[in-house]
Symmetry: C2
Subunit: 197 residues, 2 copies
DNA sequence: TTTTTGTTAGACAAAAATGTTAAGATAAAA
DNA sequence: TTTTATCTTAACATTTTTGTCTAACAAAAA
């Protein structure tokens, strides 16, 4: 780590994340990133040496961030429903800020190979799936393979935000109206996933 | 259209679609496309003149295909539930074959601008939404903004297939096991969207 | 004050990707 | 058989993107 930290290294990475994760420009060039960050392109090489290394750093961060969010959410010491409500709140907030983070991860894996994620942590997910299975026994949620429950949850949270540009056109909605729609989703999702009473 | 049609023009486009829509290689180069198609890169230029034009053709096809599927599905003369079951079957089949088609559309829009889709047809969707609202009155599905119903439907259909590389790792599933999981989803989705009896 | 650190600017080199051209092979059509 | 449309090969030009180097400068640290 540098002795005199002016935040430029972080700024570059954060800007790249904004372009890629938030604005969905999955193939931003080094020039575009540097311009958006308001730094010279040389600074990007100064800190990250190459585009690939910057992208690798961003990929690592994204995986780490995803892992950590799953970890924290899924192993929290709360009731299953409360926990699920928290997952929804947290992931919705995240998807609003960084809708293309998961898309980025997947397309990187598709081009660079699946070995990128051999070390993914699946234990917290497993424990959540187990709890879901118990809830199914209790009858608070529909019986199904718990993996489906989790996929349903994440689908309902994520997909509308990824497809926002299409949905806005399809529904003829302004950005504001679409946002209002998204704000309603937490409740909708809970109502859908949990039996009515 | 060429007088002597040997299918190479189509082959090139189909191959590019395979790479982009199926394999999720969203920034395939002309060389990669030509190689995958087993033709010389010049053939690509011979037929499409430039990469951008090939991509534009693919984009148009994808929009057209999406529009047409929506159109056919949503205006079919069947009961709402049957119609929805058909939508699920059709879109699931499509997502299995071309999981990244919508992702491609959205990332293209994100980089080239929203004007690409100003002419999108939203009438069939509107009529489906109206039917959904009627079903809500009847009580066969939960009451909500019909737009949510549609977003729920497409989310549940699409997201798991887009995120397959991640989910396989997260659930530690082989390709075969994951496929089996996906095959169960049509029923799961119907059960989730429609009230139990 | 001198040195170090962070950073910029500019020029340039190298690589990658895209696009062009000309010549020729092939096979089907005329 | 000649012609023509299709497609390849190979060479090359252009553009885009990436990466490197050097000199310089400002601000903080020593």
């Amino acid at each position: 780590m540098p002795i005199k930290n002016t935040g430029t290294e972080q700024l570059i990475k954060d800007t790249a994340k904004r372009l890629i994760f938030t604005e969905g420009k999955l193939h931003a060039t080094t020039q575009e990133i540097a311009d958006a960050a308001g730094v010279n392109r040389t600074a990007l090489h100064y800190y990250y040496r190459s585009r690939d290394l910057l992208i690798a750093a961003i990929f690592q961060d994204a995986m780490q961030d995803l892992s950590q969010r799953l970890n924290e959410c899924m192993t929290a010491p709360e009731s299953f429903k409360t926990k699920t409500e928290n997952i929804i709140a947290l992931f919705l907030r995240h998807m609003i800020a960084f809708p293309y983070q998961e898309t980025f991860l997947v397309t990187e894996i598709n081009t660079l190979g699946t070995k990128l994620i051999d070390n993914i942590q699946s234990n917290p997910v497993k424990s959540y799936l187990k709890e879901a299975a118990e809830e199914m026994e209790k009858g608070t949620i529909e019986k199904m393979n718990p993996a489906h429950f989790l996929m349903n949850l994440f689908s309902l949270l994520s997909y509308p935000l990824i497809m926002a540009p299409l949905y806005k056109k399809l529904f003829r909605l302004s950005g504001k109206d679409f946002k209002a729609l998204i704000d309603e989703r937490a409740k909708i999702i809970i109502r859908l996933l949990f039996k009515s009473q």
